[in-house]
Symmetry: C2
Subunit: 261 residues, 2 copies
């Protein structure tokens, strides 16, 4: 092993890397050759020091006085994220959400092709969605055994989410993304992330309610230049960390504080 492990990359950093990567992709399309941590921070809505620290976990890939080479940084970042090859995904539960996910082109584009669709409803099995025949969930183990490592997506109703997760784990899936509004547990060694609409809305509700306690944030919304350049960044983040929906202005660079009136 040459140097396989630099430092252990913090979870918060891991959650931000994909954001940087997407920005780099856009920059590359615009034929931008190099980027400074400051500019990248601005585009990602974070602090420049944080960007530098995050990138330093990947290695010293910047050039002092110049910045980071976009192409090279993209390569290193993709490597760190394990995106050098495709990760097929299998979707269990082909209702409204499952169909939408299956049809979402962004998946395949970014290295996550939809490998198979499953449902437990016999009426759905055999139907074609997004160019794929829906299979019965009983066939999950066989499909996984054939196709190798995949990411499992749960898009079922809440009551069956845990049992689906169990079946995924048993089939050998070690990465699961749960869209069902239910807490599910998996054994150690399996990665689990969740996306929960209702929870997100309720968090927003909290901050909305809370900002109302200090006088009505709404007024300042239209504050200054509505489109002329980006403003005080609060990268907020359903993923990763930094939940920070900011009830009050937090260190407002632009000085447009809502409560001040």
């Amino acid at each position: 092993m040459a140097e396989p492990k630099r430092r252990r990359i913090p979870e918060a950093t891991v959650a931000r890397l994909p954001v940087y990567l997407r920005i780099l992709l856009e920059l590359a399309e615009d034929k931008t050759a190099t980027i400074s941590s400051e500019r990248l921070a601005e585009l990602a809505g974070v602090n420049a020091a944080k960007v530098r620290k995050d990138l330093s976990y990947l290695g010293s890939y910047g050039t002092r006085g110049v910045g980071y080479d976009v192409e090279y940084l993209m390569f290193q970042m993709s490597r760190a994220l394990g995106l050098t090859h495709d990760w097929p995904v299998v979707i269990v539960g082909v209702g409204n959400l499952g169909s939408a996910l299956a049809n979402y082109a962004g998946f395949g584009d970014r290295g996550f092709p939809v490998a198979a669709l499953f449902d437990a409803d016999p009426r759905k099995v055999g139907q074609v969605v997004a160019g794929r025949v829906i299979q019965h969930v009983d066939e999950l183990p066989d499909v996984v055994a054939e196709s190798g490592p995949v990411i499992g997506i749960i898009a079922t109703p809440a009551p069956v989410a845990q049992s689906v997760a169990d079946r995924m784990v048993e089939a050998g899936i070690t990465s699961i993304l749960n869209f069902a509004p239910a807490v599910i547990t998996v054994p150690p060694g399996t990665s689990l992330r969740k996306v929960d609409l209702a929870v997100e809305l309720q968090i927003l509700s909290f901050y909305q309610q809370h900002s109302a306690t200090f006088g009505r944030a709404g007024g300042a919304s239209r504050g200054n230049g509505k489109r002329g350049g980006r403003r005080a960044a609060l990268l907020d983040t359903a993923n990763g960390n930094g939940t920070g929906a900011a009830g009050r202005a937090r260190r407002a660079n632009t000085g447009a504080v809502p409560a001040g009136g």
Copy 2:
């Protein structure tokens, strides 16, 4: 003011409250009268101490030696989250995802009725989705002005997400949930949360890749009792904080560590 502000509730706690609330709802349906912090922690996939501390921010609503009254706790929690009345949502962008969201019954059920659908595509305007006529996005300000405070959901393609956010802010919306795969910025006083599919998948990819560094986590998946009771909980959390998709076992209670082989 009697006692409007106890302590300031930490963001991490705010992100967990909705999870507790959902569990309480299920418990109430099962006619469970009281719940201990330990049991609640188990159901939520977190630490019991954390539950107690989280709940203590709401006030001292437990009874020592007994636990928490489910109904009463639900009430207090709903109040804290601002869920005593409905929060209408407006969805901008009625593509695959937007339609799925509009059709998602879970919204209205939980106090977030869909108030209106918008799109910029003239071919979509006038069509009916989920029982609602799609309006042109230009009408957004009028609708918001009429209906009062709403939560804005962005389900557009990435390139227009920022401009949609700007229009929402200008219309007076102060809570935005962004599904578009783009970083958007809003002025202070506006709450922003994001849900990003690609980012979630890439985070999973990282941990999948990483667990492979220590020998292949896949093997241990089937470890012990596949359904017999919940196991070492890792609440992982696309929202809130604690990104923690656990590459390796983290403090595995059950002892089934993947790398051990």
